[in-house]
């Protein structure tokens, strides 16, 4: 392999006009003009204002103040839903979270929790603490939003265990395994 790689590392000749072609194409593009912060702050701009806008702005500030107190999702799509529902009640509400049972066989465990992207990977979240049902079987039925999620079990606050019965996620970002679940709306 080293011999092959050494061969392949030899330079490859390119046409003498290549650089000129590249720069020719680049020069035809709009030139970058990055303004300094001071320039951006002091450059005059025209702002269009409709009289109706002042009323809308006042209403927006009120809604923002009220909604800022709620725990909203960081996803733009999810954040817009409570606002949209408050302003436009006819818009369809999102599907309610579904109750999903998680089961892990761990006879030697003292504590089992479910963590995932539906609870901020928080092993101390009370709704996702599994109960021991006897015979080494741990389970919890907890709310999971409709959609695609990644999750895992945390055993005794230290051992991360993928769900052996669930689809696997090839996920080596942090060296610990995950499982996938696709929750669909009950009809």
């Amino acid at each position: 392999m080293r011999r092959i790689a050494r061969e392949l590392r030899s330079p490859v000749p390119v046409s003498s006009a290549l650089d000129a072609r590249i720069m020719g194409a680049v020069r035809r593009l709009p030139r970058h003009t990055r303004l300094s912060l001071w320039s951006r702050l002091t450059t005059r701009r025209t702002v269009t204002v409709m009289p109706l806008s002042w009323g809308v702005l006042a209403a927006a500030l009120l809604v923002f103040a009220l909604l800022g107190l709620r725990h909203a999702s960081d996803d733009l799509h999810r954040a817009s839903k409570p606002i949209a529902n408050a302003l436009f009640p006819s818009i369809q509400k999102p599907a309610a979270p579904q109750r999903v049972q998680f089961v892990l066989v761990a006879p030697d465990a003292k504590k089992v929790a479910v963590v995932g992207d539906f609870n901020g990977w928080d092993a101390s979240h009370s709704a996702y603490q599994a109960q021991h049902r006897g015979g080494g079987v741990w389970s919890v039925t907890a709310p999971v939003p409709v959609g695609h999620h990644r999750y895992s079990f945390v055993v005794d606050d230290s051992l991360w265990v993928a769900d052996p019965t669930a689809p696997r996620v090839i996920d080596y970002d942090f060296g610990m395994p995950n499982s996938a679940i696709v929750v669909q709306e009950e009809r």
């Binding site: 092959i4 061969e7 392949l8 490859v12 650089d19 590249i22 020069r27 003009t33 990055r34 080596y172």
Partner: protein, 182 residues
Amino acid sequence: MEAGSSDAVIVSRVLRGDVEAFGELVERYRDRYARYAFHMLGNREDAEEALQDAFTRAYRSLKRCEEPERFGAWLFRILINRCRTLGARRGRRAQTFVVDEAALLGAAEDHPAEASAWREEIERALKSLRADQREAFLLKYVEEMGYEEMSQLTGVGVSALKMRVMRACDRLRELLSEVHSA
């Protein structure tokens, strides 16, 4: 222009409107990335098109380069994607065209005929690999990257990359040992 300015300095100049400064980046990365594009696509014409396309795109979206000091890696990522697109679109060129290119490349060996024949065989074997395996092999063995870096550039997980490199090596060994035993 100062000699040997870092990528970040040059990027900053380009963003302030000095389009000619971009030529320094072209000169800095052209040879290395031409080599990669040539081996991925199999011929000089396609390689130069991919390279030109990559540099143009890099210039156009230069403001979105989050780490200007690593402009080279960012540009490489763009080039890898261009090679994928061009490779999928164009398919393979005639084998003889590749042979001509390989003959032109030649190495300063004692036995130039043998050297260029060996080179031709390598190029032919490389072309027979699946595109994703060829890509992984080139990044690992020719560009001498680590798997983490390869993963960042390609968006493919480390384990998948290792599998691709292993399969590429197996296939190349198989093909090239057939040549030698023939």
